[in-house]
């Protein structure tokens, strides 16, 4: 199935690139969505069975792949709306959809891969396709965003490669040559910890660019800001997950060795600094799309803290990243509509949103409660579990600091969102406002409802998947 999927994705991607006809474009995109879902269903029925040598759908991969397939449907639908409401240049449209298809296929393959070098190749591919999406509008600002993203990603991906090479040195010293995750985890005890430490540092630093953690988060912020909002939704949900996955896999290998506490400390530092940096920028950010991008940095920082805390924190981390993907992609889809009304991303230019688009305004309001993890948001459950893990681990000072920072973030979020929703904008010409049909907000309601549902009434199969995924880590 993996062979069919990858061949199909390449064929559809190149057909989209070459074909500029509108009807054909959407037909091909539909074909890709069907292919994506076929793969997802196949993976559910063939769990833990290796396909095409390098692809094994374990529990974490199945969970992430399903999330990706769910989010891909509204992403394509909103891309369609994006082109319908804006000037539609056939060449730009075909490149856009081709890049999105390649991005989703590369992400799916990276989730499913069981070999560290294969993961790396597909993560490299996401850089290429993502930069085509960022450059979509073809002006100086997007050029700047693209250049920074490409450059920082190239360096980071090189760092990951150095990490893999260092890991290989350890592998050779230990006397084997298989770089698949299961083999590495099984023989982790044989490693020289010096190589393992160096390898972890490089691989972790490299993957933070995709995950959006300190130190390499910067490029991702510009990318999410400058890309069209459906693409931004993908960057802040499924692309973040691939970075997390890369870190998680290596962390799972390290968990079988004596340097596990040391690696945990690295995660603590990076996670806390991410929350801190996100707070500082949220205080002064004036562009609401960037505000949501910084909120992603905060959430992934919390996920990292959960992973480092251990115990129930593992469960909370996986739950949090999945729920965050649904919530944040919904917010980005909505940001696209806000932009269409005000033609600006500045908080000063937007306001009184309830009057222009009530359905969308309800999404923003509900999304505010969901994303700041107030009950009934599912994120409340995951954050609660996460904080109890920190408490149980005895990290009281850290917990207090994080809670304080989160309070500041909620305040910033509230201030800006309520400004957009209720306060009249100054000097805004109401005559030329585009009316947006309520049906465009439907996908966001579904995604936000999904966050509440998965948080409070998680289906047994969902809980099972998470428990299997964290089975790789010690109790």
């Amino acid at each position: 199935m993996m062979g069919i999927y990858l061949t199909g994705a390449i064929l559809i991607g190149s057909a989209l690139f070459l074909n500029r006809h509108r009807g054909w474009n959407y037909l091909l995109v539909t074909a890709f969505v069907l292919l994506q879902w076929a793969l997802t269903i196949h993976v559910w029925t063939h769990r833990d069975r290796t396909d095409l040598v390098y692809f094994t759908p374990d529990a974490l991969a199945v969970l992430f792949l399903t999330t990706l397939s769910v989010i891909s449907v509204p992403a394509f639908w909103h891309s369609y709306r994006y082109f319908a409401s804006d000037k539609e240049i056939p060449r730009e449209r075909s490149i856009y959809f081709a890049a999105m298809v390649v991005l989703l296929a590369a992400l799916s393959a990276a989730y499913l891969s069981n070999h560290i070098a294969i993961t790396w190749i597909f993560v490299e591919l996401t850089t290429l396709s993502a930069s085509a999406l960022i450059y979509h509008r073809r002006n100086v600002r997007t050029l700047e965003g693209t250049w920074k993203y490409v450059f920082v990603c190239s360096i980071s991906i090189t760092l990951v490669f150095i990490g893999i090479l260092l890991l290989t040195m350890g592998v050779q010293e230990a006397g084997f040559s298989d770089l698949s995750y299961t083999s590495l985890a099984a023989r982790a005890g044989l490693f020289n910890t010096f190589w393992l430490k160096l390898a972890f540092l490089f691989i972790f630093t490299g993957f933070t660019v995709k995950a959006g953690l300190v130190p390499m988060y910067t490029a991702g912020i510009d990318a999410k800001d400058k890309a069209p909002s459906p693409a931004g939704a993908l960057f802040s949900s499924v692309l973040i997950m691939v970075g997390f996955l890369g870190i998680f896999r290596v962390y799972a290998i390290i968990s079988h060795t004596e340097i596990f506490p040391w690696a945990g400390r690295i995660l603590f530092i990076s996670g806390f600094l991410s929350v801190f940096v996100a707070t500082v920028y949220m205080l002064r950010v004036k562009n609401f799309k960037r505000m949501f991008a910084y909120s992603s940095v905060e959430h992934i920082g919390l996920v990292t803290l959960g992973l480092a805390a251990g115990g129930v924190g593992y469960y909370a981390a996986i739950l949090h990243i999945v729920l965050h993907s649904f919530a944040k992609s919904a917010m980005f889809f909505q940001v696209g509509q806000v932009y269409r009304i005000y033609k600006s991303k500045s908080i000063y230019d937007a306001g009184d949103y309830f009057r222009f688009n009530p359905a969308g305004a309800m999404v923003l309001l509900a999304g505010f409660f969901v994303i700041t993890a107030m009950p009934p948001s599912g994120l409340f459950i995951s954050e609660f579990l996460l904080f109890s893990a920190l408490f149980a681990g005895g990290h009281f000072a850290l917990l207090a600091a994080v809670l304080l920072l989160l309070t500041v973030i909620i305040w910033c979020f509230g201030k800006n969102i309520f400004k957009i929703l209720f306060i009249k904008p100054v000097g805004f010409d109401e005559g030329s406002v585009e009316s947006i049909p309520p049906v465009e907000s439907l996908s966001q309601y579904v995604l936000l409802a999904g966050v509440v549902y998965l948080g409070f009434f998680p289906p047994g199969v969902f809980v099972n998947l998470i428990n299997h995924a964290i089975g790789l880590l010690p109790k």
Binding site: L128, I155, T168, Q172, F194, R284, N287, R290
Partner: protein, 209 residues
């Protein structure tokens, strides 16, 4: 022999830290390509022939000829002035590069692994951090790309340390090298050169909060 080549490689990094003209940078990059060709030839002689040919072709054809030529072409086409405009004076630059080399030397002394040749490790780490230093300390966008190419050369040396037993990794590293360089330079020559008149990083300061 490998040792001599690698020592020359590290010296070329110091020379790069000293020099001010962009032409010198491209010349040093070409020279490093030749050195890497020699190291790869000695280190990988026992792997199978097509693989070896691929590696050698990459070092000579790509690193020594294509990339420096392309860089010169970009510099001429975009009328980039030949000064590299570092933020720091040369003396400090040399001190920093030397510190980096000594640091990598000390770090590699911590290795108690008899399996790995430390000199490869020292050369690779020096190139990595020197490349990062060039990226931080130079003002032009094109010198950022050159810093990245130095990093890539370092990665190539490091991949040789494991390459004899795992040629797959060397090949992947080379593909990364070609892919990323072509991609970066392609974006540069097609877009940035056309859109921005003055190619230094001050032009890329609009996205912020």
């Amino acid at each position: 022999m490998t040792n001599i080549l690698l020592i020359l490689f590290v010296i070329s990094l110091v020379h790069m830290g000293l020099s001010k003209r962009l032409n010198t940078y491209t010349a040093v990059l070409a020279f490093q390509g030749i050195l890497l060709f020699g190291v790869a030839f000695i280190e990988l002689i026992q792997i199978n022939v097509p693989n070896l040919l691929f590696v050698l072709l990459e070092t000579i054809g790509f690193k020594t000829i294509a990339i420096p030529w392309f860089l010169n072409y970009v510099i001429r086409r975009n009328k980039i002035t030949r000064e590299s405009e570092p933020f720091l004076p040369d003396f400090i630059s040399v001190v920093i590069v030397t510190t980096i080399i000594i640091g990598s030397f000390l770090l590699s002394n911590a290795i108690r692994d008899t399996h790995v040749r430390k000199i490869l490790f020292v050369a690779a780490l020096s190139a990595l951090f020197t490349g990062l230093y060039f990226i931080i300390s130079r003002k032009k966008i094109i010198t950022h790309v050159m810093g990245f190419l130095v990093i890539e050369n370092g990665v190539f040396v490091l991949s040789l340390a494991v390459g004899a037993e795992m040629p797959l990794l060397v090949n992947i590293g080379i593909l990364l090298d070609i892919f990323a360089s072509v991609f970066l330079l392609g974006v540069f020559v097609n877009k940035i050169g056309d859109v921005l008149q003055d190619q230094d990083v001050d032009q890329l300061r609009n996205l912020k909060d």
